[in-house]
C-alpha cells in the first residue's frame, strides 16, 4: 500500500488541505485499474466509512498477495468540510462535485478538482461513492448517466439490485461521473445511505458489491458470492408518494420493504397540534427503494419511491430529476 497526497493546498490560517490516496497493487501491473472516490461532500460520512473500510480490507489482501490490478482509493475529497460540519468547500460553499473537470488556472475549487482529475484520468474503471442531494435515504443503487461513453455491462458485476440508467441533467455535466466517462474511464456512481449518518447494513452491502466487482473484473484474486441480477430501473415503474401536508413524518416501513397495495406506510402529524394530517397508503405492490429520512417533512416532498414489476398507474409526471 502506498499512501500519498494527491492534492495539497495551503490555507491562510488552518493546516493545509490535503486529498490523500491509497494505492494498491504494482504500479506497472498490466491488470486493469480502478479508482474509488469517497466523500466529495462534508456530509457523505457513509461514503467515507465505506471507502476507509475498503482501504483496510485491501491492505490485508495486498499482504496476502491477492491484488492483481491497480486500485486507488480516495476516502475523502473534501476533508476540510467534513472537519467543520460543512457540506461544501468551506470558504465559498461550492460543491466540489460541481467543479469538474476543473481548471488549473481558475478558482480555488477548480484548481483542486483539476489536480484531482489529473490523477483520476486513465483508470479503466471509476467508482464514485455518492450521497444524496435531498433528505432521503435509499437502497444502494447504481447511477449510470448516458454520456455516450457509459458502460452498462460492467456495472452489472456489482450485483446490486437496481441500476438507474438515464440521460444526464445539465448540472451533471459539471460532475465527476460525466467528465470521467468523457475521458474514457468506465465511471459510475453507487448512491446509498443517509447523509451525515452511517448505516451498517447498507455499508456492508456496498462493500461486498465493490469487492465482487474487483474480483469479477480481475483486479482482486478472491472468491466471491454471486450478487443479484440487477434490474434496470424504468421510471415508469417507480411510484412516487408525496406528502400532501407538512409536519412530523412517522414512517412505519424501511427501505427494502416489500409492501402491498393498501398497506399503511406511515403518517404525517401536525407538528403543533399533534393531529393526524395524512395517512400514507401504498397505491401498489412493490419494493420501497427510497424514503424521506428527516423527521420534519415539507408539503409536496417525496416520502417514498416504490419500484414495481408492473407499470404503476399512479404517476402524475414522467420527469423526476433526483433518483
Amino acid at each position: 500500500m502506498k499512501r500519498f497526497d494527491i492534492v495539497t493546498l495551503e490555507s491562510p490560517n488552518r493546516a493545509a488541505f490535503r486529498i490523500e490516496g491509497f494505492l494498491f497493487g504494482d504500479e506497472n501491473s498490466k491488470g486493469p485499474s480502478v479508482a474509488i472516490v469517497g466523500a466529495m461532500s462534508g456530509d457523505h460520512i457513509n461514503q467515507l466509512y465505506v471507502a476507509s473500510g475498503l482501504v483496510e480490507y485491501l491492505r490485508i489482501k495486498e499482504e496476502e498477495g491477492n491484488i492483481i490490478g491497480r486500485i486507488l482509493v480516495i476516502p475523502a475529497v473534501n476533508a476540510y468540510a467534513i472537519n467543520m460540519g460543512e457540506k461544501n468547500w468551506p470558504l465559498d460553499k461550492t460543491d466540489l462535485n460541481m467543479m469538474f473537470p476543473g481548471y488549473a488556472l481558475g478558482e480555488t475549487t477548480q484548481r483542486i478538482t483539476s489536480r484531482l482529475f489529473e490523477t483520476l484520468k486513465g483508470y479503466d474503471y471509476g467508482i464514485i461513492l455518492e450521497g444524496r442531494r435531498d433528505q432521503g435515504m435509499c437502497l444502494p443503487y447504481v447511477k449510470l448517466i448516458q454520456s455516450g461513453y457509459e458502460d452498462l455491462e460492467c456495472v452489472k458485476d456489482l450485483g446490486l439490485g437496481f441500476i438507474h440508467y438515464r440521460p444526464h441533467d445539465p448540472i451533471e455535466t459539471a460532475m465527476l461521473q460525466y467528465n470521467w466517462q468523457l475521458w474514457e474511464t468506465k465511471a459510475f456512481s453507487i448512491v446509498f445511505g443517509k447523509n451525515g449518518a452511517i448505516d451498517q447494513s447498507t455499508s456492508n452491502e456496498v462493500h461486498t458489491a465493490i469487492v465482487r466487482f474487483l474480483s469479477k473484473r480481475e483486479m482482486l484474486d478472491t472468491p466471491v458470492f454471486e450478487g443479484r441480477k440487477s434490474n434496470i430501473v424504468d421510471p415508469n415503474r417507480i411510484t412516487i408518494l408525496k406528502a400532501s401536508r407538512a409536519g412530523i413524518l412517522i414512517s412505519k416501513v424501511q427501505c427494502g420493504a416489500h409492501v402491498q397495495k393498501g398497506e399503511t406506510l406511515g403518517k404525517i402529524i401536525d407538528a403543533l397540534s399533534g393531529q393526524k394530517l395524512e395517512k400514507i397508503v401504498s397505491p401498489c405492490e412493490g419494493i420501497v427503494t427510497c424514503q424521506y429520512a428527516h423527521p420534519l417533512i415539507f408539503q409536496n416532498s417525496i416520502i417514498f419511491r416504490i419500484a414495481s414489476v408492473e407499470h404503476c398507474c399512479h404517476i402524475d409526471s414522467a420527469k423526476s430529476t433526483s433518483d
Partner: protein
C-alpha cells in the same frame, strides 16, 4: 397601489408557509400592452435587487398614469434565504439557480423553481437582478449566453448598465432561471451589480433608470425614453482574470472598480501571522476593472478581479 399577492406557497413543517410574493401593477384603463417581471433574491445573500424593487415600486406609485403594461415585482424568490443571510435554499443547502426548470415531483428547491417558472410564464421580459456574492464587487453589468446574443444584447443596451458580457454557453448554466425563462420565450436578462449582503444606492438608481428606459422603449410605460449610458460590449476586447497566487489576506490598492493601466498595482496579499507581503497583484492588461474582490481571505486561485481590455487600443 400595486396588487400584492402570494403566488407560491408551500407548507413548512411547523406552522408556517414558504411563500413568494409579488406586487403587480396594471394600467388603470385598457388592456396591458406587454408584461415584464422584475426578479430578485434567487440568491438569499444578494440584496441590491431588493432596493431596485423598492425604487421601482416607489416610482410606479407616483406615476400610475404612465403604466401601459403589466409590471410584476418579485423582490424575494428565496424568501427564507433573504430573511436569514442564506444564499442557497435553507435545509437543503442547494443553489436555487442550479435547479431550474425544476419539477413538481422533486425536492423543495426543485418545486420552488418549477413554481417560479409557472408564475412568470407568459411574461414578455424578465430582469433577474443579482449582486455577485459576498466575495466580489461588480460594476452594473448584464451577462448573456452566446446563443442569446442577437435577441438580448439590444435589450441589455437599454438598461443603463456599464458592461454587456457575452459569454460562451456552458451546459451547467442550462439549470439557471434565465435559461429556463429564455427557453419558454421570455426575454430574460441577468444583471450583476454590487456585492452580496450590502446595497449601493447609486447602482440602484442607475438600474432604475435603465428599467424605466427599457419599459418606455417597449411601450410598457408611457414616458419618453431616458438618456442612458451605452454599455461597453465584451466582443470588442477580452477579459483577463486575476487569481490569487497564494493564500493570505488580500488588501486592495484600489477602492472601486475603475480604469487601470497595464502593470499597475491592484492590491497585495499579505500574511497576518508573519507580517510579510506575500504577493503584489499586478494588472496583466489595461482596461476597466469591472470585478474586484470584496472579501479579504483568499486561497490560491481565489478570484481577485477581472479586467476588460479593448483590443488594439492603449488605455
Amino acid at each position: 397601489m400595486g396588487l400584492i399577492e402570494e403566488v407560491l406557497t408551500i407548507e413548512l413543517p411547523v406552522g408556517e408557509n414558504f411563500r413568494i410574493q409579488r406586487c403587480r401593477y396594471v394600467p388603470k384603463k385598457g388592456e396591458p400592452t406587454k408584461r415584464i417581471s422584475v426578479v430578485s433574491g434567487i440568491h438569499g445573500d444578494e440584496l441590491e435587487g431588493q432596493y431596485v424593487c423598492f425604487l421601482l415600486g416607489q416610482w410606479l406609485r407616483e406615476h400610475p398614469e404612465a403604466i401601459k403594461g403589466t409590471i410584476d415585482i418579485y423582490p424575494a424568490i428565496n424568501s427564507l434565504g433573504i430573511d436569514s443571510i442564506t444564499r442557497s435554499v435553507p435545509f437543503y443547502d442547494v443553489d436555487l439557480n442550479r435547479t431550474f426548470p425544476g419539477s413538481k415531483n422533486d425536492f423543495l428547491p426543485a418545486q420552488i423553481a418549477d413554481g417560479v417558472v409557472d408564475v412568470m410564464r407568459g411574461s414578455d421580459f424578465a430582469i433577474d437582478i443579482h449582486s455577485s456574492n459576498v466575495f466580489l464587487r461588480e460594476i452594473p453589468q448584464v451577462r448573456i449566453a452566446k446563443s442569446q446574443e442577437e435577441i438580448l444584447v439590444p435589450l441589455a443596451n437599454l438598461l443603463n448598465i456599464d458592461f454587456v458580457w457575452v459569454h460562451d454557453a456552458v451546459t451547467v448554466l442550462e439549470s439557471t432561471f434565465a435559461h429556463a425563462m429564455n427557453t419558454i420565450g421570455t426575454k430574460t436578462l441577468v444583471v450583476e451589480m454590487g456585492v452580496g449582503m450590502r446595497l449601493g444606492e447609486a447602482y440602484g438608481h442607475q438600474l432604475l433608470d435603465g428599467l424605466l428606459n427599457l419599459m418606455a422603449h417597449e411601450g410598457i410605460l408611457d414616458i419618453a425614453p431616458l438618456d442612458v449610458r451605452f454599455p461597453i460590449q465584451s466582443h470588442v476586447g477580452e477579459v483577463a482574470y486575476l487569481n490569487a497566487a497564494c493564500p493570505g489576506l488580500f488588501v486592495p490598492a484600489i477602492d472601486h472598480c475603475q480604469i487601470i493601466k497595464q502593470g499597475s498595482v491592484v492590491g497585495h496579499i499579505v500574511s497576518a501571522l508573519s507580517g510579510e507581503v506575500l504577493d503584489e497583484v499586478i494588472a496583466p492588461i489595461g482596461g476597466i476593472l469591472f470585478t474586484i474582490r470584496a472579501y479579504p481571505i483568499v486561497y490560491e486561485g481565489s478570484l481577485l478581479g477581472r479586467i476588460f481590455g479593448e483590443n488594439n487600443e492603449a488605455i
